[in-house]
Amino acid sequence: MKKEAKGAGPKVLTANALDSGLVVFRTADGRWSTDIAEAAVAWTKEEADALLALGEADAARNLVVDVYLVAMTEGENGRLVPVLLREAIRAARRPTIVMPGEDPSVIAA
């Protein structure tokens, strides 16, 4: 289930694109990207509030739906990754399993 990212720590802003429904992240230059690596990172509560406000304005302009902050943490190679598995799956843009008709190596890789 969706959980609001609370407390300290870095956050990114996510939503779903209105037309495609795909998972998107808000970038520093005000776009919505399907690549979480492009997401603007809010490090403080003030930055997170400001990012959320921008996202909600975009939702009001009907670019995206269901805007919320995602808690991030430092992953293995120092890159930021979502804290929750749910958000990691969304960011990966795919299920954790091999989809029917797919080459199994997509998961093994």
């Binding site: 779903n16 998972v23 399993i97 989809m99 008709g101």
Partner: protein, 553 residues
């Protein structure tokens, strides 16, 4: 199969155009998400974890080749080449673009399909025995009544804004293959001593966060009174069902809180009021008109025993296994009911590729009077295949990885989409199903274990029916980690029972071992191969299983 009349056709076409307009207005910003959400849900469009999901109604799980081929086409053209058959006998696509939905619905309408009432607080797709019209033990074709209920409940103005969703299931045999006792209304078609058709009626069953077994309110409701009686049930529910709390809004809660006696009295009183107004009986001509759509196909007169079938069993081990588990007795001599397993070892339960759908469509047209069924156990069924033809059907299925001979065995697992796809999930379901299937992949071991139903849900909404799994697995979120709670002894058949929680949950790493421990414990306890897991559990209770699971704790 029911065919749309002019009215149906026009109605569905108008509905598609209405939604096309609504989507255009949403995309242009004229409609807000709050305004649009209920409209899209009424047309089966959800926003899921990755994208929009479209749920398409398959009335009582009945398809033909043309419909299935159209679903395959939609999978390929608008999605990622596959679809997911659900425990409600529906089909879901996971990556649908909102702007494509009107075109998809128009394509569906051409083959007499739609996505209406696959969401929302209305009467949902009426489900039925997937062996309907073929089962050796049925007294009538339950789809006749499912279709009557479907027509009556489609956009019924009084029942479009119920306190909560409402599910009806129909069977027509003593063996319950549609889990009717865990539906809001469960109907078993039967005959009385005079040989007349009617229904035993259960109300207030359901799964979800508060699982309840339905309570029988009528042992024999005459056939002609079906709609009036259902109307009385719905009316009592609509009036008294709780609208203040979503989690207490289902009929099951009303039945539980008020007591079945009081609810039964209310239903009968409402029914008398309906009767007093004279609106009681369904005309026999109307029943006959609907029945004609489900007239048995032109079965040939065949010997009960097929030498081709018997020779294939003797020749091929894989065919013998398939014949043993995936071919059920047909009511007509010389025919069999073929279950097509969508549970190949390691595959996501219920998923089928476009190519697999097309193959099944071909086989249905060629060998099964153009009929396919979707089972609530997430398999497909060819209901009317000549025993002589089953070896050829098997060979074709095997080429497409659709001939796993595991119907009803430990690897024939029901699993909801879980956290891999579902926005509401707490934990993943599919990978757990896959790991269990791999652990028990050896067919000899599966056969040794015998009938065993494992059902997995990724959250308490219980779409994977875990409460009625012989072994039920519920995914929970424990401080951000996936955990799995195990219930034992559930059953969705005519001996319906809700599984009991066996103890504390298991981590993702532990859960497959836990299932194996349970199964090994069962094998140690049974008095012989004919004593099933469920029978042993009912004989000994959960204690030995708990001890085995938590011995070191």
């Amino acid at each position: 199969m029911y065919r749309y009349d002019e009215f149906d056709r026009q109605f569905v076409a108008e509905r598609v155009e209405e939604f096309r307009d609504q989507v255009a207005r949403r995309l242009s910003g004229e409609l807000t998400e709050d305004e649009f959400r209920p409209l899209r849900l009424m047309n089966g469009v959800y926003l899921q974890l990755h994208a929009y999901m479209l749920r398409i109604a398959i009335p009582y799980g009945t398809l033909n080749g043309r419909k299935l081929r159209r679903l395959a086409h939609i999978a390929r053209r608008y999605d990622r080449g596959f679809g997911h058959f659900t425990t409600r006998q529906n089909l879901q696509f996971n990556w649908i673009r909102l702007e494509d939905v009107p075109d998809i619905l128009a394509e569906l309408a051409e083959v007499e399909m739609h996505a209406i009432q696959t969401s929302g607080n209305c009467i949902r797709n009426v489900s039925a025995d997937h062996f309907a019209g073929a089962a050796a033990d049925e007294v009538a074709d339950p789809r006749v009544y499912a279709e009557i209920l479907r027509q009556w409940s489609s956009l019924h103005p009084e029942f479009t804004f119920l306190p909560r969703k409402f599910k009806i299931a129909v069977v027509a045999s003593p063996a319950d293959r549609a889990a009717i006792q865990v539906h809001d209304i469960g109907l078993q078609v039967k005959r009385n001593e005079a040989g007349e058709l009617g229904f035993a009626v259960w109300v207030g069953g359901g799964l979800g966060r508060t699982p309840m077994i339905g309570r029988k309110v009528r042992d024999f409701l005459p056939e002609a009174e079906l709609l009036s009686y259902c109307e009385a049930i719905l009316r009592v529910y609509n009036l008294h069902g709780r609208r203040d709390n979503k989690y207490k809004a289902r009929l099951k809660i009303l039945v539980h809180e008020a007591g079945v006696d009081e609810i039964a009295r209310d239903i009968e009183a409402e029914y008398e009021a309906i009767r007093a107004r004279g609106a009681l009986a369904m005309p026999q001509e109307e029943i006959a008109r609907i029945r004609a759509y489900f007239a048995p196909p032109a079965f040939a007169q065949l010997p009960a025993r097929s030498s081709v079938f018997e020779a294939a069993k003797a020749d091929s081990r894989s065919f013998a296994l398939f014949a043993e588990r995936n071919v059920a007795p047909h009511k007509v001599p010389g025919y069999g009911i073929v279950t097509i397993s969508l549970k190949a070892i390691g595959a996501p339960p219920g998923d089928a590729t476009a190519e697999q759908m097309e193959l099944v469509a071909d086989l249905a047209e060629r060998y099964s009077f153009d009929e396919v069924r979707v089972s609530h156990e997430q398999n497909l069924v060819l209901p009317h295949v000549r025993l002589d033809d089953i070896p050829a059907v098997h060979a074709a299925l095997a080429e497409a990885n659709l001939a796993t001979p595991n119907a009803g065995l430990v690897t024939d697992i029901i699993a909801c989409p879980g956290l891999d796809y579902c926005a509401l999930a707490n934990a993943r379901s599919i990978p757990v199903a896959q790991r269990i299937a791999r652990r028990f992949a050896d067919i000899e071991r599966q056969k040794q274990i015998g009938d065993l139903k494992i059902k997995i849900s990724g959250c308490i909404n219980a779409c994977g029916h875990h409460h009625v799994g012989h072994i039920g697995i519920l995914g929970v979120d424990r401080k951000g980690e996936e955990f799995y709670q195990i219930t034992l002894g559930g059953s969705g058949d005519e001996t319906c029972s809700i599984g009991e929680i066996v103890g504390k949950g298991f981590s993702s790493e532990e859960v497959v071992d836990a299932v194996e421990t349970i199964i090994e414990t069962y094998l140690g306890l049974r008095q012989g191969p004919e004593e099933t897991f469920l029978a042993v559990f009912r004989r000994v209770g959960e204690a030995p299983f708990r001890e085995a699971l938590y011995a070191d704790a």
